[in-house]
């Protein structure tokens, strides 16, 4: 294996595609995941706006989506992908299945962050006459922020891992390169390089998330 200009360009494109898939999918996964997490926590039987039957139903739907293996989901949502993106090939085509697979996961991560917010603080807000929406906006979200950031690092790295799988269906990115060269063409060296790059990206995202969380947390200063 030679690291010539073509190979380097391919790797550069792979990194860019991977980051593009990961962050675009993460953005949309959070766009759906945060409201879902809020609904899960608010409609709980002990929540600020209890609707227990609805909460249970939503919980089951989320668990169902999370039980479908990603590789199967990739194929299952091809019609949706075609409708939304217009093609089933390339990095953009992987975004709809990534969002569908990770939004329920993000919802659970967000829910668990909200669960860490002290019930006494929510009670205090209620005692001041705060409405459920005010409690969500002014208590749950700001108080859970450090935990939400740790959760985001976890979610983004998980989505990165999913995006690498999309190489199997021609999705692009570093995972695609690892499969094409490392697996189909037995270029073990290329496989190691892509895996090493993935490890570095995961490290950076994880550390950045933890650091942001520490800096924003007013409890430990």
């Amino acid at each position: 294996m030679i690291l010539d200009a073509t190979t380097l360009n391919m790797l550069k494109l792979g990194v860019w595609e991977t980051l593009y898939m990961t962050f675009t999918s993460s953005f949309f996964a959070y766009l759906f995941g945060i409201p879902l997490g809020i609904i899960l926590i608010a409609t709980d039987k002990d929540g600020i706006y209890p609707i227990p039957w609805f909460q249970r139903t939503l919980g089951i739907i989320i668990n169902l989506l999370r039980s479908v293996p990603f590789i199967i989901l990739l194929i299952m949502v091809i019609p949706i992908t075609k409708l939304v993106v217009g093609t089933t090939l390339g990095a953009s085509a992987v975004i709809p299945p990534l969002v569908i697979a990770s939004a329920p996961y993000v919802a659970r991560v967000v829910e668990s962050s909200f669960k860490e917010v002290d019930a006494g603080v929510i009670e205090a807000a209620k005692s001041m006459g705060a409405s459920p929406l005010q409690i969500i906006w002014k208590v749950l979200l700001p108080e859970a922020k450090p935990s939400l950031l740790v959760g985001a690092a976890l979610s983004v790295t998980t989505i990165l891992g999913y995006s690498a799988m999309s190489g199997f269906v021609g999705g692009g990115g570093l995972g695609d390169i690892a499969i094409k060269y490392g697996y189909y063409r037995y270029q073990t060296g290329m496989m190691f390089i892509t895996v090493a790059i993935l490890v570095i990206i995961v490290q950076i995202i994880q550390e950045a998330g933890m650091k942001l969380s520490r800096v924003s947390d007013k409890r430990i200063k």
């Binding site: 603080v121 807000a125 005692s127 001041m128 200063k221």
Partner: protein, 338 residues
């Protein structure tokens, strides 16, 4: 001390919790009237239902029977929106302070004002005024994690008063604090009651708290009100069994017996504690006695005390002393030892 006009009335209030092992009655047929401007104490052992009771007053817990009247308006009949508005007239402080950990002191005090829709500038002005009052204006930029327990409770008090409430509910507000801090928080509550004319409702399991600040007190025991009255009356003559237990403590039922002679408890009210009751009695009856237990408390400026004395074995001597106590109109009773 306070006008007769009630600000809070609880009428036949009951609360049941439904658990897997059947319903549990936390409150049963509670009837209370709390006057405007008074400091009212609610005392009970843990599990007696006092925390549930205070949460029924501002409807954080919805009672399963009876009504809560706030300024003659029934909270039961209000829509959730109106109930939230009513809550803005009732501040509340907690044992664990419950400050927002991600907001600084000033932002915490501004919080209820934001909820009430007060403009940012007015909110900051009001918050600084309150921080001045609780003595923390120099810590306005600090975060709760940088404050001591007593400072946190002061911030919580400032926050609870931000919307100019008519009532301040204190749920075990000093139970997580050391004795000195407790004292300073209690005197702050007293000051607030006097200067801002806020009715204060104090929930506690400590008699010392009731003794230090309250005008009137209700004793709650096993979901019921066992006794209500002025603190002075309660201390001089507790009527219920739980009242005696809470006030007289160890001395209530248990007295070590020396020999077979009788033990008598004498209770002093404000008047008799300034007279040399015991000396007079010994001089008049010419009978020696043995003091087994004695204590004096300062209730709103008057000395209240109780003493357990042991009488001699001679029956005639015993009668002489009992007769003396009767004619001198000193509250007394025989104590049965274990």
């Amino acid at each position: 001390m306070h006008s007769a006009e009630p600000i809070i009335e609880l009428v036949g209030l009951g609360k049941e919790f439904y658990t897997a092992s059947g319903p549990i009655k936390a409150l049963d047929d509670i009837n209370l009237s709390i006057g405007r401007g008074e400091i009212f104490g609610i005392i009970g052992l843990s599990g007696a239902g006092k925390s549930t009771l205070v949460r029924c007053i501002n409807y954080l817990e919805i009672p399963t029977s009876g009504t809560v009247l706030f300024e003659n308006k029934s909270l039961t009949a209000m829509r959730p929106r109106e109930q939230r508005l009513a809550r803005q007239s009732m501040g509340m402080i907690f044992q664990q302070f419950n400050l927002l950990a991600q907001r600084n002191v000033l932002q915490n005090v501004c919080f209820p004002l934001e909820i009430a829709g007060v403009s940012k500038k007015d909110a900051v002005d009001r918050a600084m005024e309150l921080l001045e009052m609780v003595g923390l204006s120099d810590r306005s930029k600090a975060y709760p994690s940088q404050l001591s327990g007593g400072q946190k409770q002061r911030v919580a008090i400032a926050r609870a008063l931000a919307t100019k409430p008519k009532i301040l509910l204190c749920d075990e507000a000093t139970s997580a604090l050391d004795p000195n801090t407790t004292k300073s928080i209690l005197s702050l509550l007293k000051e607030i009651n006097k200067t801002l004319e806020v009715t204060v409702i104090v929930i506690t399991h400590e008699m010392a708290v009731i003794e230090a600040v309250c005008d009137r007190v209700a004793i709650i025991d096993q979901s019921h009100i066992a006794e209500v009255g002025s603190v002075a009356d309660l201390f001089s003559e507790p009527k219920s069994k739980i009242g005696r237990q809470l006030i007289l403590g160890e001395a209530a039922e248990r007295v070590i017996q020396f020999g077979d002679s009788k033990n008598v408890r004498i209770t002093f009210d404000g008047r008799s504690s300034f007279e040399p009751v015991l000396s007079n009695m010994i001089l008049a009856c010419k009978v020696p006695i043995n003091i087994i237990h004695a204590e004096t408390k300062d209730i709103n400026g008057t000395a209240m005390g109780q003493m357990v004395i042991q009488l001699p074995e001679d029956e005639l001597d015993q009668k002489r002393i009992i007769n003396y106590l009767k004619t001198a109109k000193i509250t007394h009773e025989e104590v049965k030892s274990l």
